[in-house]
């Protein structure tokens, strides 16, 4: 999507002239060639009034209230609900057994109305539940568009469940909670009472984006749910926080407020980094649930298996990078001014330049992640590799900055620095026995499988293993200037290795079988060059070469780590059956990790939902999953 800098004259912001539906559809078909201002002017991006952050920030911080520049993508099939291609808002309140009538789509004027079919839903109607419905839909519709755009992943994203419409429940019922639940294809947002009145989690764009981040990541890497590993669970939390952080950043006026609040030093910018302020203030003594402005390192948290705590390290590292990028842009501003530019150095401009850079840097690498058992280091390496591909010469030293931040947080080790920073060719062909064209690999899961099977030895895939290719996608990512990056063909492949849980440390699971997920993600460019290849090996022999033996050794290490983690989770009482019923779920009795019996084997996984809160009971392994009767 190209961007034009021209200002829209105020008179044209709300054009009286209406386009016909046929014209709208024509434009919609050509939307990838239209600039942002044109999209806004034509109504292909619809204005919707949402909170920058949430009502508490709106009340406390001047200028950080309702976002009057916010727009969200129009599409031809919009309907009441709102309902769109990828979302259906269902305003059912389970506490009160009430279905609130949906916001009504006014196809003639391309806007949503209250059920009276007259009242336009905007900041003057924020008490109406239909306004809430519209607001939450507009937020996720816009965030999904961001993820799918060229600045993001450059491709359509699927959900992790059967189906393509994520159900959004804006007033799900009473509770200090909000969660994404794959099992019901839904994102559920609850309300609760505080001293200041009812808190609607659906009005907090941070909460909505955080939970939606889980849904997006679950769609991208569905096997991350099947995990007991601390970093994989924490990565889900990180993804939620990152999504919220980046989406808040996209707003021009909000960035101005943040800079004003922090006097230009982003290290003070709690407003931005503190997620879900209203929720946090109403629910805990700490002003923010989690904050990106922390100093935690992996070394501090060694042995900590609590996902929320661990996720702060990675969120903190990415915020460090953000501050570093901002500092570079600030210097550029000064340099430009000194060199006789016509403009004064501007923090606002520096931050505005930082944001798209940061979005690309953090989101595009998601396609380079392994299909299972992700670690923070996998993400750090993916970020560095994506940067190298997009910016091979790196005149401003971004990779140096990132490596420094990752090492400081303990996500990479000092020993990693040299190989990462050594000059090397950006693109190499993978070593293969049998050549397949990218076209044939990308054509189908079958095509990708034949490519992998023909090259088992070189790809360290054990001979006896029957591998699955759950997804193959092509992506057209772009640089921040809107220029195309090499087209990516992303192949994920997986297999399972059976493990026996031997010994008393597995408690009631002793003697039973489970599986370890193994596999890899390979990303090729359109010429068959290797963009990235990240592997999660198993323990089976894959040859006798030094590299093959190292692969097997890594598999052994993974197996030991997995068994140790399961044992630790068992000891902490964190694994239990998920407790569901026709009457609904009982959050307190839902353990953080679940176990299912699939084909006679145990399958451990993240609990079906993630709560935004991190009350101390989550990590203590107290006996809280027990129901009292």
């Amino acid at each position: 999507m190209g961007t034009t800098k021209k200002k829209i004259p105020p008179s044209r912001k709300n054009p009286e002239r209406k386009l016909t539906r046929a014209t709208m559809i024509d434009l919609y078909q050509a939307r990838q060639y239209l600039g942002l201002d044109t999209l806004k002017e034509t109504g292909l991006r619809m204005p919707v009034r949402v909170y920058f952050k949430d009502p508490a920030v709106a009340a406390d911080t001047e200028g950080a209230g309702i976002d009057d520049e916010f727009t969200t993508p129009w599409e031809p099939g919009l309907g009441d609900g709102p309902t769109s291609a990828r979302f259906a808002v269902i305003d059912y309140d389970a506490t009160r057994n009430v279905l609130t009538p949906p916001a009504i789509w006014d196809a003639r004027n391309n806007r949503y109305l209250a059920p009276d079919r007259k009242t336009v839903l905007d900041e003057n109607t924020k008490e109406l539940y239909q306004y809430h419905q519209l607001s939450v839909w507009a937020i996720v519709q816009n965030t999904l568009d961001f993820f799918e755009s060229g600045a993001g992943l450059g491709r359509r994203i699927s959900w992790a469940f059967e189906g393509n419409r994520l159900i959004i429940v804006p007033h799900a019922g009473y509770g200090e909670n909000a969660y994404y639940d794959r099992g019901s294809k839904s994102l559920q947002l609850y309300w609760f009472e505080s001293e200041k009145g009812t808190v609607y989690t659906c009005l907090s764009s941070d909460i909505v984006n955080h939970e939606f981040g889980h849904a997006v990541l679950d769609g991208l890497r569905p096997y991350y749910f099947e995990s007991v590993g601390a970093q994989t669970a924490a990565f889900h939390e990180f993804m939620g926080d990152l999504t919220a952080l980046l989406m808040a950043f996209r707003n021009n006026a909000f960035r101005r407020v943040v800079l004003k609040e922090s006097n230009g030093a982003l290290t003070n910018a709690q407003l931005l980094a503190g997620l879900a302020r209203e929720f946090g203030e109403a629910t805990a003594n700490a002003p923010y649930l989690r904050t990106a402005l922390n100093k935690h390192t992996m070394q501090d948290l060694a042995g900590n298996l609590e996902p929320h705590a661990l996720s702060e390290v990675l969120t903190g590292a990415m915020f460090d990078i953000l501050m570093g990028v901002f500092a570079k842009h600030q210097k550029n501003e000064v340099r430009r001014a000194k060199a006789g530019g016509s403009k004064k150095p501007s923090d606002i401009r520096a931050l505005a330049d930082t944001v798209p850079r940061m979005q690309m840097l953090a989101i595009q690498p998601l396609d380079l992640l392994p299909p299972c058992a992700v670690t923070f280091k996998d993400y750090a390496l993916a970020v560095l590799r994506a940067e190298q591909v997009a910016n091979p010469t790196d005149p401003s030293g971004y990779r140096q900055l990132m490596v420094d931040c990752f090492i400081k947080r303990g996500l990479l080790e000092e020993a990693d620095r040299k190989p990462l920073m050594e000059p090397a060719p950006v693109f190499r062909r993978p070593a293969l026995d049998v050549f397949h064209s990218v076209e044939s690999i990308a054509a189908s899961r079958g095509g990708a499988y034949r490519f992998l099977d023909d090259n088992r030895a070189k790809l360290f895939i054990p001979f006896s293993t029957d591998i699955d290719v759950p997804e193959i996608v092509r992506a057209n990512k772009r640089t921040r200037d809107g220029l195309p990056l090499p087209q990516q063909t992303i192949v994920q492949y997986l297999w399972r290795e059976e493990l026996v849980l031997e010994g008393g440390r597995f408690g009631r699971f002793a003697g039973q079988r489970t599986t370890m997920l193994c596999g890899a993600t390979m990303v090729l460019d359109q010429n068959g060059n290797l963009i990235h290849w990240v592997r999660k090996p198993g323990t089976a022999s894959v040859g006798t070469s030094e590299a093959a033996l190292a692969e097997q050794t890594e598999g052994m290490r993974r197996k030991k780590e997995l068994l140790d983690t399961i044992a630790a989770r068992v000891a902490a009482g964190m694994i239990g059956e998920s407790i569901g019923s026709e009457l609904g779920l009982l959050e307190r009795a839902t353990p953080p990790f679940t176990v299912e019996h699939v084909d006679g084997k145990l399958r451990f996984g993240l609990a079906p939902h993630f709560s935004l809160d991190d009350h101390d009971h989550n990590g203590t392994g107290d006996r809280q999953w027990q129901i009292s009767f």
């Binding site: 639940d181 019901s184 008393g504 026709e582």
Partner: protein, 447 residues
């Protein structure tokens, strides 16, 4: 033996019904007879058999079998179903004690009452609608669902027949209210619940996920709204009915959340009875629960933690007998279950009441049945208690000797195997298998 104190734990399936005889402890020189609870979530046939046996143990006074003290620890069916049955005509009672939480007019339990009324009505509706609940939730619903007949028997029928008034007891009950015709070498005291039920067991915040208990005062919906009839549920137009049904089953249930909180409050307001007899200490805890730590007034505390922080002088000190709480549930006997629990209050409490070094002088027993709620009893907890008491059995050996198969033990490989060959306190379920329905487990305490 007539001069030993007897504790008879009836095998009532999943429930409690406990008889205690203190030899010659009555003021007039006869034995003193106590019945603690009479309930089950299993077949009520168990209770009929238990009361039949109980009658053979009781003295006949004025043409009726006489219980000197009846204690009903808390208002859950597994502790009181029996009182809804036709079992009591030929029994009389010297005193009836119930938890202060069961007093409809207790001033410091206003919120707890509201909560309980909502929860009981909602769960009754869930049971009536025969909703598909997971096994643990079924137990919750069954235990909570209203039991008006039983409560009427306890509040009115039995006291009137015996010409007494029921006493709703708490740790600050007046001496006169708790006066019993006992000799000086025997006392019965109440360690819980505390009088201010709302403050200690609900706290300001209740359960973290239900923070702001103001909702109990003003926001709670009608129980029939919280558990709606299927045909009273509105149907959205923009999704498939099957998807909507699935969605509803995976939304947080207010009814369940508050029922769960009420279940917890109810357990934690169990009457905790300390019997001291000839220098021996016996503790009956109902279903009192524990958690990591006590916080005054801000959270829904658990009974063990409250007792430890408010009544430590009475609670601490080695026991001669411990009635293992809540059918051997993991959350009813404080122990070093996790690293955190080992470092904090939970293990300290266990070490104070059942120190390993006093093992020879300590006994314990538990009413168990692994049924719908399959993680109860928790066998590694029982094995841990087995290290601290003397009346244990190695059930692996006992089964072998008796020629019994472990396959008859429910969920053996999943929940029993690991601790089966470790000494455990006597359990009603396994004892029944070994002894061919004697119907109870006896523990004797010597003076």
């Amino acid at each position: 033996m007539a001069d030993k104190l007897l504790i008879r734990l009836y095998d009532v399936g999943l429930g409690d019904s406990i008889y205690c005889r203190m030899p010659k402890a009555h003021k007039n020189g006869r034995d003193f007879h106590i019945l603690i609870d009479c309930g089950t979530l299993s077949s009520t046939d168990y209770l009929a058999a238990a009361i039949d046996n109980l009658k053979t143990m009781l003295p006949e006074i004025d043409g009726k079998r006489h219980v000197d003290l009846l204690v009903v620890t808390h208002e859950h069916k597994d502790h009181m179903t029996g009182f809804g049955m036709d079992l009591w005509d030929d029994l009389s009672f010297g005193a009836i004690w119930m938890s202060a939480a069961m007093d409809l007019d207790h001033p410091e339990a206003k919120r707890a009452k509201k909560l309980h009324s909502f929860a009981a009505n909602a769960m009754e509706q869930a049971v009536r609608l025969n909703l598909a609940l997971s096994p643990p939730l079924m137990e919750l619903a069954a235990a909570l669902a209203l039991n008006k007949t039983a409560m009427k028997t306890l509040r009115e029928t039995l006291p009137q027949a015996s010409k007494i008034k029921p006493v709703y007891v708490h740790a600050k009950s007046k001496k006169a209210d708790l006066a019993l015709p006992l000799k000086t070498d025997a006392t019965v005291s109440v360690l819980g619940p505390e009088k201010d039920i709302d403050f200690y067991y609900l706290g300001k915040e209740g359960d973290p996920a239900l923070r702001r208990l103001g909702f109990i005062d003003t926001g709670l919906p009608d129980p029939l709204t919280a558990v709606p009839q299927p045909d009273a549920v509105p149907m959205p137009a923009n999704i498939d009915p099957a998807d909507f049904r699935q969605l509803r089953s995976r939304m947080l249930s207010t009814a369940l959340a508050f029922a769960d909180l009420d279940g917890k409050v109810c357990n934690n307001t169990s009457v905790v009875l300390l019997i001291e007899w000839k220098g021996k200490r016996l503790l009956f805890v109902g279903d009192a629960e524990w958690d990591g730590a006590y916080k005054e007034g801000t959270k829904a505390n658990c009974a063990w933690n409250v007792m430890w922080n408010l009544r430590k002088e009475k609670l601490k000190g080695p026991l001669a007998f411990y009635k293992i709480g809540h059918h051997g549930s993991v959350n009813a006997t404080p122990w070093g279950m996790t690293a955190a629990a080992s470092e904090g209050e939970p293990l300290a409490i266990l070490d104070a009441i059942l120190p390993v070094k006093s093992k020879a002088g300590a006994k314990a027993t538990v009413s168990t049945r692994r049924g719908n709620y399959e993680t109860i009893p928790r066998t590694d907890l029982l094995a841990e208690i087995g290290k601290r008491v003397s009346n244990t059995r190695n059930y692996a050996n006992a089964f072998k000797k008796a020629g019994k198969k472990t396959s008859a033990v429910p969920k053996f490989s999943e929940f029993e195997k690991k601790s089966f060959s470790q000494p455990q306190p006597l359990r009603t379920d396994l004892e029944r298998m070994l002894q061919e329905s004697r119907g109870f487990v006896d523990v004797e305490i010597e003076a």
